[in-house]
Every structure is written in structure tokens, then in C-alpha cells.
């Protein structure tokens, strides 16, 4: 079992810009990761098994919906706190961060933002505590980057709705107790509904043989004439902008999370470079290794500053989609690059399960694709610059 001695780099003394409470939250989640995730994660990844028991523990820790008000079981914390939590969890594993992101940003956030008071009281405390696991159904087999083309339908049948269609690449789905699902009504408007496990015609087959996010569970959502009670419609969600707001929230967390994965790869590479002897001296003595480490730290430092400023803007309610897209795109890209360079520094050992590098690298291949692909985020930024959307 790997001993986790992780320490985060802080070349620009960014810590001085955090409050004492932020630092306590970060050290708390880091301690949780060292105790609960690092000792087991490589084994679960190798077995491609979801450590479901951690859902309850993450709920007890308070990382599900930390920005949701305390009255609904949330933490009532700010967005920098949320970002630091995602950084630390993904430092442990992107799959675990995915579980937390989906629960907080894609299930609790839409219920809080678009749900009725009754829905908030019914679902949010159970999702916050980890008693319930949730998932989010937007992507369909033929509609990923183009969610507006979705085929799932929600028909009014008098005292209930009828939901038909299918969703694909859904994190948490095989174990989820509820799903927040987006479908078009008769008028063609995108609407959100809460689907509960056990509803007739609702199934969640698992997607197997992933080479990425192997410790996270991913599946489909299939709706075959599922009767949805009218009380389960999210009353304040109307149109595609509602699920896109959820994605903004999740992408914000991913920007921080990817930074965590990058930090872990850098930390592992630095330690290995100082310990590994070749030509009678540590490989850290060689200029090409120092170049890799220096470039890694440069990119991590830039990403730290981007995250912190974006967090400040989120706290002020001023973070926009383009800013979030830039942060998500940049930070995942640098994390992937750092993982690859760290793999090089580790030599052959880098491909083994003794080190976290390959696990992070494979995970990040999903992270660079989900929640808006690398290229789509480029186009979001392009549209911001030119005013001309180039998506189609």
C-alpha cells in the first residue's frame, strides 16, 4: 500500500490569500483523502470497482453540496471552500471527485435552484448526508456536445408525466437513488424531472470495461414509459439554460479538481526524482528533469491563481460561462500534460499501480472530455471573444 505523504506546492504564497477557515477545510479534506481514499483507491481502480461505502463517509465529511444552505443539510460555505474540497478529493482520485461533483453540482444544485420547497426538503438533506446518491441525465447516445438535440420526451398525461428516452455516460447512475433528468415536453421545451429508483420502466445498466475513472461507476439511464408524478417536475427550470447552469457549477469544481490531480503528479514526480539514483546521483540533478519539474510548477502556480480568482468571482456572483470554460479547459489540459511528464520522470515505475500517475492520466482522459470537451470549451471562449458561436 502506498504511503501518502502529499504536500501541495505554493510557490506564489497563494495560501496567504486564503482564510484560516479555507485552510482548515483543505487540511481536513486532505486528511480524509489520506485516511480513506489513498489507501484503497489503487486497488479499487485495478478491480474497476466503485467504493460505494465512501459515499456515506463523504456525506458525513460534508463535501456534498457545501454551498447549499445549512437549512437543507448543506454546508453554507463559499465557492472557494467548495473548490478546495474538489481539489483535494481529485488529488486522491478523479473518480471520487466525479461522484462528489455530480452529487453537489448536478443533483443538489438543480434541486436547490429550480426545485419546489417540498422537493428541497425531501431530497437535499438525504443527498447532503450521503443517504441518497444522485445522478444527472443530460447526455444521450447521439447527443453529447449538442444537448439541444436531445430526443428524450416528457409528455403530460393528466395527473402525471410519461418519460421516454435514454441517457448515456452517466456518472453514479448504476448506484443512484435518484436522477435529475432533462427531456423535452410537447412544446419542445427542455424540462427537468426527478426520477426515483424503483419507478416502473426505469433502469440503469452499468457501462463496463472503462480504462478511465475505473473506481467510479458509470452507466446509462433508460426510460420506458416511466410514470413521473407531477410533484417531481422541477418547477423553475424552463429551457436548456437550466441544465447548462448546472454544468457551469460542475465545471467550476472540475477546474479545481484537475489542479489537485496535477499537484499529486507533480508531488510524486518531485519525490521520485530526488530519490531515484542514476549515474550515481539523484535524477533530480539532471537539467532535463529539472526542466520538467519547473514547467509543472509553473503551470500549477498559474492554475492556482486562475482558480482562486474564479472562486472570488463565483462568491461575488460574477463568474461567467466563458471564464469557467477557460479554467476547466486549461486546468485539465495542464493536468494531463503534467501527468504525462510525471510518468516520464517515473520511468518504468510510472506505469505501475505503485504510483498514482497512470491512474490520474487515464482518469483525466475522461475529465478532458466530460462536462464539455476540450474543443467545445475553446469554442465557448471563441464565442465570447468574437460574439460568433462556431459550434455548428
Amino acid at each position: 500500500m502506498r504511503i501518502d505523504n502529499f504536500e501541495s506546492p505554493d510557490l506564489y504564497q497563494v495560501d496567504d490569500l486564503l482564510s484560516d477557515e479555507h485552510k482548515l477545510i483543505r487540511s481536513t479534506v486532505r486528511a480524509f483523502v489520506k485516511r480513506e481514499i489513498s489507501p484503497i483507491i489503487d486497488d479499487y481502480c485495478q478491480k474497476a470497482e466503485f467504493p460505494y461505502y465512501l459515499v456515506k463517509k463523504m456525506g458525513e465529511l460534508g463535501i456534498f453540496g457545501p454551498t447549499i444552505p445549512v437549512t437543507y443539510g448543506g454546508g453554507g460555505l463559499d465557492y472557494i471552500s467548495y473548490g478546495l474540497m474538489m481539489q483535494e478529493i481529485e488529488r486522491g482520485d478523479s473518480g471520487m471527485r466525479s461522484t462528489a461533483s455530480v452529487q453537489g453540482s448536478l443533483v443538489m444544485f438543480p434541486i436547490f435552484q429550480f426545485g419546489s420547497e417540498q422537493q428541497k426538503q425531501k431530497y437535499l438533506p438525504k443527498l447532503a448526508s450521503g443517504e441518497f446518491l444522485g445522478c444527472f441525465g443530460l447526455t444521450e447516445p447521439d447527443f453529447g456536445s449538442n444537448p439541444s438535440g436531445m430526443l428524450s420526451t416528457l409528455q403530460d398525461a393528466g395527473d402525471h408525466y410519461i418519460l421516454n428516452g435514454s441517457k448515456m455516460w452517466i456518472s453514479n447512475s448504476p448506484k443512484a437513488d435518484i436522477a435529475v433528468v432533462w427531456a423535452r415536453n410537447e412544446a419542445g421545451r427542455v424540462k427537468g424531472v426527478i426520477v426515483e429508483r424503483g419507478m416502473e420502466g426505469f433502469s440503469t445498466p452499468e457501462i463496463h470495461n472503462k480504462w478511465s475513472l475505473r473506481a467510479s461507476t458509470t452507466g446509462e439511464l433508460i426510460f420506458d414509459n416511466v410514470k413521473i408524478p407531477k410533484d417531481n417536475l422541477l418547477p423553475h427550470a424552463d429551457g436548456l439554460s437550466a441544465p447548462l447552469q448546472c454544468l457551469d457549477s460542475a465545471r467550476y469544481g472540475i477546474a479545481w479538481g484537475a489542479l489537485g490531480a496535477a499537484m499529486d503528479c507533480y508531488d510524486a514526480a518531485k519525490r521520485y526524482a530526488l530519490e531515484r539514483i542514476q549515474f550515481d546521483k539523484p535524477i533530480a540533478s539532471f537539467q532535463l528533469i529539472q526542466k520538467k519539474l519547473a514547467e509543472m510548477l509553473t503551470e500549477i502556480t498559474k492554475a492556482q491563481l486562475v482558480c482562486l480568482r474564479l472562486g472570488q468571482l463565483k462568491n461575488l456572483g460574477r463568474a461567467n460561462t466563458a471564464q469557467i470554460s477557460m479554467a476547466k479547459r486549461n486546468n485539465v489540459e495542464i493536468a494531463l500534460h503534467i501527468a504525462r511528464e510525471a510518468r516520464q520522470i517515473h520511468g518504468g515505475m510510472g506505469i505501475t499501480g505503485e504510483y498514482p500517475i497512470m491512474r490520474h492520466m487515464m482518469n483525466l482522459e475522461s475529465v478532458v472530455t466530460y462536462e464539455g470537451t476540450h474543443d467545445i470549451h475553446l469554442l465557448i471562449l471563441g464565442a465570447e471573444i468574437t460574439g460568433i458561436p462556431a459550434f455548428k
Binding site: 505523504n5 504536500e7 484560516d20 477557515e21 485552510k23 482548515l24 477545510i25 481536513t28 486528511a31 480524509f32 485516511r35 458525513e60 465529511l61 460534508g62 463535501i63 457545501p66 445549512v70 454546508g75 453554507g76 460555505l77
Partner: protein, 245 residues
Amino acid sequence: MKILVCISHVPDTTSKISFTDNNTKLNTTGVQFIIGPYDEYALARAVEIKESVGAEITVINVGEIDTEPTIRKALAIGADNAVRVNAFPKDAFFVASQIASYAKSTTFDLILMGRESIDFNSGVVHSLVGEMLNIPSVSPVMKLDLNGTKAVVYREIEGGKEVLELSLPFVAGCQEPIAEWKIPNMKGIMSARTKPLVVVEPVAVEEESIYLSFELPTAKSGCKMVDASTPEKLVELLKNEAKVI
């Protein structure tokens, strides 16, 4: 039941230690401070007692304002209120005098702390506090079970353990595995914001010691490998170079 838990504010175990002011002070630049790990076990046991039989936990720290984040963490873990004695903790006698002075003002059933702090490691504060309050002190305590007004403690001794029954109140210097080390949760961190943290001024204590200077231990030298076929070489090195035989 009222429990007083004494916590120290010490450099994280991974800190790189250096000195300033002509080697008379720790250089705190870039050093992360934490609750003394042994103190944290004492706090964890207090929280377990609170959860099982109910208790009010007060944490006390002797330190300047920069120790407050450490105190807030103790509140996040489960202490109900906190006291900071507003003074630099000069030495064990000074710290013990402050704790004893505060403890005299309020009656505590149990005073818990770590077996030693991990900065100066004097390991005598619990004994001093017990003496100053004229109550028993026991250390290092690995297990502590309460039964009404009595407690059974397991104490580590050379080559074994000692089991003692004591009447409350007493002072215990704690170490693992007295309790499961606790990670606070977000609710605890939020509630710590509003829990009372009272600052009291120190009582006057005669200066018992002055630090003249600190120095770091000699850096570890490299490991020498001796071929298994030449044990005489090993004996020669141990005798003449390491001078241990």
C-alpha cells in the same frame, strides 16, 4: 462532566526547521502549525466521552493570537468552548502555571493533554499541572475508561503496561491508541465559527529558564554497504569509525 483539554500549537511534523535571531528562535516562515498530535488524541478521547456519556469540553491553549486557527480546529473537532491564555509559551513551567491558574477558576472533572508536545517535547506539563492543582497526574495513558466518578487507565511502562484505577479529578497525558484520531467535518468547521473563544491574560510567573541557542542535529551521513563476505570490515568500521563498540 466538565473536561479541560490542553492543546499545543506546534509545527507540522513535515516542517523544515530553521532558526532566527542568532539561533534563539524558531523561524516560523512557511511553517504550517497543527494541534500537537498527542493533544489531538486527548481531544479525540474527550469527544468520545462527550458522545457516550455527555460532557462539556473546554480547550485551553497558551499562545499568542496566531494560535487561534489551531484552537478553531479543536472547536471544529468537537470542543464546546475555548480559552487562549494570551502569552508566548516560554517553557513547560510557564505553560503549566497558566493552565493550573485557569483550572483553579473552574472545576474540571478531567484534565487531558498529550503525553508531550512535539516541539520542545519536555513531557512534564501534565505532572506540573497535577502538582499545582494537588490532584493525581498519570502519563502516558493509552486507554481511559470512565465509570461514574472513577476511571480505569492503562499506562505504558517499560516492558509492559500498568492498569490503574483513579478517582476524578485527575490529569492524564495521553497517547495513541486512546481514541480514534478525529477529522472534523464541515458542520463542525461551520459551528466552530460561533463557539466562544475567550482570551485571558497570563498570570505572572517567575522566569525559570532562558533559551540561549538552538542547533539542528548533525545531518545523517550516508549508508555504508559492507559485503557479507567481509564481516571483519564491519567490525572495524563500528569500532574505529562509528566508535560504538
